[in-house]
């Protein structure tokens, strides 16, 4: 991977070693999304896993959106 950027690479990569992202795959209204939990009840959408291109224009599925987890029946 080559980064072609004007930013000093030490600035870009700062904190990389301490980064421990944890992701979950969740089905949100029929579409799989990757969610990063921010608390026990909430998560932030990271990316969409869908083959329908229109899902990527859906404002309800935009990365960064916070969703609430609710206990399921299972």
């Amino acid at each position: 991977m080559i980064l072609y950027t004007t930013m000093p690479l030490e600035t870009v990569y700062q904190g990389l070693e301490d980064m421990r992202p944890s992701y979950l795959e969740v089905k949100l209204a029929g579409t799989m999304v990757v969610v990063e939990p921010i608390s026990l009840e909430q998560g932030r959408i990271v990316r969409i896993l869908s083959t329908d291109p229109q899902d990527y224009l859906n404002p309800g599925l935009q990365p960064g959106r916070v969703i609430n987890f609710v206990p399921g029946e299972g």
């Binding site: 904190g15 980064m19 859906n58």
Partner: protein, 281 residues
């Protein structure tokens, strides 16, 4: 428990709410008794986007469905900011534009009949070469009119993205930095290292020369200029300079870019082909 999620896809076949369904009660206050019309929904089992109280939300809660948004505008705007993120998730101090989201969005723009044109706004410091070139190639291959506008800065890998549109604008004070690629990580001091880097550099140079009016030689010359940058070799082009070197087509802002895009949409409808730069026609 975090692991317990509700799959809301139970009602997938009924996309429209039935008219006989009870109307959705308003926002429920804590302690308020449950309305007797919907006793089977004690917990509103749905991941609910925050801060929304509209019919979409009601639909989501009742049906587990979100209606696809009807495109409100015939053009879409794509904002490319911060680092163009590719194969590696960058630490959170970076503001990033994610490749895996932008590419399918471009596909959706191409496919959605309601979208007639695309405005790309750039304020980026560069980023992953592969991701940047992939985005640029995808924009260049769209059959719908595209226009780009460099605001603030369109540096490094932002340059090919800026020129990938049918027509490009740069604001008066925006800058574009053109500099050589550098290698990170393990670098072997063998001739192959230089050849590899040269090959990677050529991909960028060829794309830029192929999609703008600047020549390969001139772009290469700008890339290897010494004495301009304090910590690097290369060139900074401010607004008009980028137009003078024919890297960008015109100095302008949102108004000019949208006017061009609307003209290009009309041109496509009238002539059945895209309006292009003169030398590309």
């Amino acid at each position: 428990m975090i692991q317990d999620y509700v799959d809301l896809d139970l009602n997938k076949n009924s996309t429209q709410p039935q008219p006989t369904l009870p109307t959705q009660p308003g926002p429920r206050l804590p302690g308020q008794p449950q309305p007797s019309t919907a006793p089977e929904q004690p917990h509103q089992p749905s991941p609910v986007p925050q801060g929304e109280t509209n019919t979409n939300l009601a639909n989501l809660q009742q049906m587990g469905q979100m209606e696809l948004p009807e495109p409100k505008s015939n053009i879409h705007v794509m904002n490319i900011v911060g680092q163009v993120e590719g194969h590696m998730v960058l630490p959170p101090q970076n503001k990033t534009s994610k490749y895996e989201h932008l590419i399918p969005q471009l596909v959706a723009v191409e496919q959605n009949p309601g979208i007639e044109g695309l405005l790309i706004i750039l304020n980026t410091v560069g980023g992953d070469v592969e991701a940047g070139l992939a985005i640029a190639e995808t924009i260049a291959s769209l059959s719908k009119p595209t226009v780009s506008l460099v605001l603030g800065g369109g540096h490094s890998i932002g340059v090919p993205i800026a020129v990938s549109a049918d027509y490009s604008f740069i604001s008066e004070t925006a800058t574009m930095t053109i500099h050589p690629l550098r290698l990170t990580g393990q670098v072997l001091s063998v001739p192959q290292t230089y050849e590899y880097l040269d090959k990677m550099q050529d991909r960028v140079i060829r794309f830029v020369a192929g999609h703008s009016s600047i020549s390969e030689e001139k772009f290469r010359e700008l890339m290897f200029t010494t004495g301009e940058l304090a910590r690097d070799i290369g060139t900074v082009l401010v607004g008009r300079d980028a137009v003078r070197f024919r890297l960008i087509d015109e100095v302008g802002g949102v108004g000019e870019a949208l006017a061009w895009l609307n003209g290009a949409i009309a041109h496509l409808k009238e002539h059945g082909r895209k309006r292009r730069r003169e030398h590309l026609q």
